[in-house]
């Protein structure tokens, strides 16, 4: 939900997702190119990470909280590649010979993460789906994305309400009760999912739907200018990363 807050509150909310997508793509390609020099790769990741914060006005605290889970996963993954634990001998060995490869992987992943977060923290999913629709993504996939995204909120509200109702009647008073409550919550939710899916189908029929879910694509002012600007920035990033790599 933190991501939701960011995407609707940032300064780039009205910028066409095509421009933001292009910039993110440029950053992604640059991250792959430049990662052979891990220090430069990490620098690029930091630079790309500052774009949504400085450019789009995403709050730094929010950004850090969004980035933390994947980043910590990445760092733990990197460490586990560096360190080998031998249980039989009870020793921990450092794979120093593969140190460079690990740094390359970590730098590349950090760069890719920053590029994706650039898009994710500034673009509402509805805009992204509209962009994917324009890019001729199969309708079935888009329908699933639209419905999943919508029911995510419906069910998170349901879960919250059920949990509150259970807690109000001491459903989480001890570990045994908690487990029981959680089980009945899951069972209840399953029944609700079934009912809701039928309800949504009926609602779709009531509004004359007989095929893919069709919606009006959002329009963006100055889309051409923003896209051109993003394309230039993306190309500059890629060119700079090529130049930096050749400087090894």
């Amino acid at each position: 939900m933190l991501i939701e807050q960011c995407v609707y509150a940032n300064r780039w909310r009205a910028v066409t997702p095509a421009a933001k997508g292009l910039l993110a793509l440029g950053a992604l390609v640059a991250a792959f190119i430049v990662a052979s020099r891990p220090a430069v790769g990490l620098l690029l990741a930091v630079l790309v990470a500052t774009v949504p914060v400085v450019g789009a006005g995403v709050r730094a605290g929010h950004y850090a909280r969004i980035a933390w889970p994947p980043l910590s996963f990445l760092l733990i993954g990197g460490l586990s590649m560096l360190v080998a634990v031998d249980l039989q001998q009870g020793s921990i060995n450092l794979h120093l010979q593969s140190q460079h490869e690990v740094f390359v992987v970590v730098a590349r992943s950090c760069g890719a993460l920053a590029a994706l977060l650039l898009l994710v923290t500034t673009t509402p999913l509805t805009d992204l789906i509209a962009l994917l629709r324009r890019m001729k993504t199969p309708e079935l996939l888009l329908d699933i994305m639209v419905l999943c995204y919508r029911v995510l909120f419906v069910f998170s509200e349901s879960v919250h309400d059920m949990q509150t109702a259970q807690a109000a009647r001491l459903g989480y008073a001890d570990a045994r009760r908690s487990l029981h409550s959680l089980g009945s919550l899951a069972a209840n939710l399953l029944a609700q999912v079934w009912q809701r899916s039928r309800g949504l189908h009926q609602a779709a029929l009531a509004r004359n739907n007989d095929g893919p879910l069709r919606f009006l694509a959002p329009t963006f002012a100055q889309a051409g200018r923003h896209t051109a600007f993003a394309a230039i920035a993306a190309l500059a990033l890629v060119a700079a990363s090529l130049w930096l790599r050749s400087g090894v």
Binding site: P124, G199, Q202, A204, N208, F215
Partner: protein
């Protein structure tokens, strides 16, 4: 002859589990009228509404739209659903997209309208329900009342002739109810026929032209709202009571505080009559 828009002739419907949804139900909706469908929970109101839009098909009996029997072919249903707009009770059941504007565009695009025409309809519908300022808001950040209005806009954008609303006032606070009522009044003034389900007999008496009563899946009776006082016994059988304003008018008329007047439909109107100077009251007319 009255111009009937939707007619149900002895319609029965049973759910697959065997429970009866509708039993020999006959009902007629006049073009341009405001209709309130009253009945207790489980009396079959929602089942009846699902029939109006062709989502359910009668096991027996017939549904007629503008004098023609409803054709349940793909094309026929498309036609019916373009003319009868159904607003569900729970907005979360109806809203598909997480964006207000996108969701409202769903119906018009399904009707096969061009993007330009659909965009025009969406703007007009959002305007009609006073939601034009929130067109780009995510649905999950809207209040219950706002979601309800988006649902109505989603149906209005399909330009239906008959608007069917399942308990539209449920869950709304008094201020939101007043706003919604104003929206419905504007729609009715523009010529739209409205059918809504409600538990609130006082509201039905005040607002509707015709009242339809349901009990245990049967359409018990239909009558003009002004004649509600004559149906006290049928209401009592459905465990409903007359609005207090009827008894008040009767007592005040008997005591001479009010002259003989046509039925006064709300406490506000009654108060307005009482506040008029005595000489004017006899010449005044109730709504």
């Amino acid at each position: 002859m009255r111009d009937m828009l939707l007619e149900m002739a002895r319609v029965s419907f049973a759910y697959p589990d065997g429970s009866a949804g509708l039993r020999d139900c006959s009902l007629a909706i006049r073009r341009g009228s405001r209709n309130a469908l009253i009945g207790a929970n489980g009396s079959g109101k929602t089942t009846l509404f699902l029939h109006t839009n062709g989502l359910l098909r009668p096991s027996q009996g017939e549904l007629r739209y503008a004098g023609q029997a409803v054709n349940y072919s793909r094309h026929g249903l498309r036609d019916l659903r373009s003319k009868v707009g159904l607003v569900f009770q729970n907005p979360d059941r109806q809203l598909f997209s997480a964006s207000v504007r996108e969701d409202v565009s769903f119906g018009p695009l399904n009707q096969g309208l061009s993007e330009q025409e659909a965009a025009h309809r969406v703007d007009a519908a959002l305007n009609a329900v006073g939601m034009e300022g929130l067109a780009h808001k995510p649905v999950q950040n809207l209040s219950f009342g706002q979601k309800k209005r988006v649902c109505i806009a989603g149906v209005l954008a399909m330009a239906p002739e008959l608007l069917v609303l399942d308990e539209p006032m449920a869950g709304l606070d008094p201020a939101m109810q007043t706003e919604l009522l104003a929206v419905l009044e504007r729609l009715h003034a523009s010529g739209m026929t409205i059918l809504l389900a409600t538990h609130d007999i006082e509201f039905a008496y005040r607002w509707a032209d015709d009242i339809h009563l349901m009990k245990d899946g049967a359409c018990v009776t239909s009558f003009p709202s002004a004649e509600l006082a004559n149906h006290a016994d049928i209401l009592a059988a459905a465990r409903l009571s007359l609005p207090p304003v009827i008894a008040l008018q009767q007592v005040l008329t008997a005591s001479g505080a009010l002259p003989e007047l046509p039925p006064i439909r709300s406490s506000e109107d009654l108060l307005a009559h009482l506040e008029q100077p005595v000489a004017k009251r006899s010449s005044a007319h109730g709504r």
